[in-house]
Symmetry: C2
Subunit: 436 residues, 2 copies
């Protein structure tokens, strides 16, 4: 059979990884796919630099707008990143009857619905395994491996930079700033780390996973997003003492009142497998009603792990490009006419357990006042300890785990607690999930 | 679209789970698959008992030989287990142009090559996600999710009964016999647990995974199989002290000299995620050259977890049953004409690290004698400690971890060590894998 012909948009880290993996494993891939996969063109910004790397093996152009229309290209692989010009190029590729493989989570989070609708209309595929959790085949697991299930929730460590920083803070007691600096030195964080540490990147990925899990359109704007930049080493240590690890989780869950979609630092019981995912690795836990909890773990970024997902998508497209479009796996796991918009739960209506750290005057009655306010809002305490004040210190900290409570009630209770004379600073709070 | 019509062979635990899941989630499954999946017949041994459970909803027969030929059946789901009559029925279903979904690992381990060849000839699919690791979509991950990779090795906890017993032995210090009894009381082990505790069940699954990982025919007979029945609580405790957990692993690996295929108790560093898989859960680690190590975790048995995999296969078959057979995912991941038989490495040529426990007289010079013999065979010691002899006791135990050594050399070295006057019992040895 004739090889499938690929046009590559972008020859950065992942682009080069893809070229390397396709070259090195071409024989293995042909044994699997039954035909070859050949890169026939690459579009880049700096042609000279690209030629210096790739040589004459692949024709290089600086006109991506030509590549996405080239008659000898069957599949366009978009590895530019960002929303524009990626969106325009992908839509143009689709309009010219090309299948698309993309690693671009920002693009799909913001414009996925538009792109999938266009692909649907043209009868082409847009594959995006590489957009979420790098080399872990989580999109495939959700869309195809768990089709028998009603998915109840999923929770994932889907930003390697944040997980690396949190792992270092725990291992070494480092502050957030020091751990971030180390991550930057080691190449786990970018010079401008905002997207990673403020949770945006995780929220992009989560909004894609949520749509696939529940059969709803992608709604990035519905996500509640908090990052890790405000976490103190002390809270990671106290959490540890209570038997928990702090992870930046993306969580999405069906509830009778709507779908939860939230990214924030989370206390997870240390005995859970996902709590033991260290360094820049990713993991996603999926809870299905039939299968129970399953977990998928691996490298969430990097040239070759991401290329692994890109190539898997290429093989899938290769297999299915002659299939009847209606027999293909739908882009968002559910048939387009079966995507049912659902209400999204606001963060204030979310019910979780909490970790609080409260800086107080070391005086009798302080705890009683706090406990009474919590009780007034039906927030019950699961565990509590008080830091021993240092010699001569007249302040101390109360560390507390609560049972489940509604966020709105917690907000109000904490407002009143913070108004007490004896409470000396805003209460630190971190949500907690049992993930069972 | 018309629903796909399924004939069910067997209405035991998994059969009933499949009926339950298909019923409960029919709307969700239709939203995904674009059409319904309907059970139109079930064949069982005891029709009365089956009718009492299923009522009139599904016609029940005791003539499976009719069901596999019934013109109104599109897909036969084989949930009988064991080799005969399952083999005959599956082959007959294939001969009558039915697709087959099976959870039967023994059948595939022994007769998979024959069955897949027959299916290939008829252009039908035989799907078997449920045969390995229950609800974990590991077959899909290997066959489709990691197609860009050259798989280097995989290692799995793929027998829940054994893992439950090992977890209990570690948690409570129980003996093997006591932990087995507890597993039987809780329903995690059968009245006759031989297949589970002697490693046969894990070897069935491993031989399937190995074929899919490397593109070789299934060769169950090439597997080296050891179970957990001889493990002592002491070794689990000593392993723990050294920073390891003991797991029954199925391991398959490419080496220049041939493919390893082995099931045996294994020391795994406690910090590895897979070492923290507890109870009856399963997990498989797959190392690909591009993606690195990935891990897949979930329930490896049980009615609904296994049904989850059966239904996922039904949806896959539903999607692909009109596709050109050559565009479907090949049964063993690689195109049938690209399956290349490879030499299988004998266990004696395997290179691993080891844990030894040696019962010795508490006399000077004992360790020197042992160390010299090991050195003669180029087996070097990585870590060692000696149990403190009790008051008045004139014997003690040496516990030792080695660096990598060839099994043949280890066998010969231990033969000589056991011949020493000062060595009082056969040496306990457990292989060790770093899984990095």
């Amino acid at each position: 059979m004739k090889p499938l012909r690929v046009g590559l948009l972008g020859l950065g880290t992942v682009g080069r990884g893809t070229v390397d993996v396709l070259r090195r494993n071409q024989e293995e891939i042909r044994r699997r796919a039954g035909r070859g996969i050949e890169i026939v063109a690459a579009a880049v910004r700096d042609v000279g630099r690209a030629r210096a790397w790739v040589g004459d093996a692949i024709p290089v152009t600086d006109r991506p707008q030509d590549l996405v229309r080239a008659p000898d290209v069957d599949i366009v692989v978009e590895l530019i990143g960002g929303c524009e010009p990626a969106r325009e190029l992908v839509l143009d590729a689709i309009a010219h009857d090309k299948h698309v493989v993309t690693a671009n989570k920002a693009l799909l989070a913001h414009h996925g619905n538009e792109i999938f609708a266009a692909a649907q209309k043209m009868g082409v595929m847009v594959a995006f395994e590489a957009a979420v959790a790098g080399g872990i085949p989580i999109i495939k697991a959700l869309r195809e491996g768990l089709t028998g299930n009603r998915i109840e929730w999923l929770a994932g460590i889907i930003n390697g930079t944040s997980n690396f920083i949190l792992s270092r803070m725990r291992d070494t007691g480092a502050s957030f700033d020091d751990a971030l600096r180390e991550a930057q030195q080691l190449g786990y964080a970018e010079a401008d780390p905002s997207f990673d540490i403020h949770g945006t990147d995780a929220a992009h990925k989560l909004s894609i996973l949520s749509a696939i899990a529940f059969g709803v359109p992608i709604r990035f704007d519905a996500a509640h997003v908090e990052g890790i930049a405000d976490l103190a080493a002390a809270d990671i240590r106290y959490a540890e003492q209570l038997g928990y690890r702090v992870k930046l989780l993306g969580i999405t869950r069906r509830t009778p009142a709507g779908i939860e979609l939230r990214v924030h630092p989370t206390l997870v019981p240390a005995k859970r497998l996902v709590a033991n995912v260290e360094g820049a690795m990713n993991a996603v836990v999926v809870k299905g009603d039939a299968v129970g909890a399953t977990l998928y773990y691996g490298a969430g970024a990097g040239a070759e792990p991401t290329a692994s997902a890109v190539v898997a998508d290429l093989v899938d497209v290769t297999r299915l490009h002659t299939a009847d479009p209606e027999d293909r796996v739908p882009h968002l796991a559910f048939q387009p006419d079966a995507l049912v918009p659902q209400p999204w739960l606001s963060i204030e209506d979310t019910v979780t357990s909490y970790y609080f750290r409260i800086l107080v005057s070391d005086r009798p009655g302080v705890l009683a006042d706090i406990a009474r306010i919590l009780a007034d809002f039906r927030i019950s305490i699961d565990a509590m300890f008080q830091r021993e004040p240092a010699e001569g210190e007249n302040r101390t900290e109360i560390i507390m785990l609560t049972h489940e409570a509604r966020e709105r009630d917690v907000n109000e209770a904490l407002r009143r607690i913070e108004a007490l004379d004896t409470v000396l600073a805003p209460v630190i709070r971190i949500r907690q999930e049992s993930l069972s």
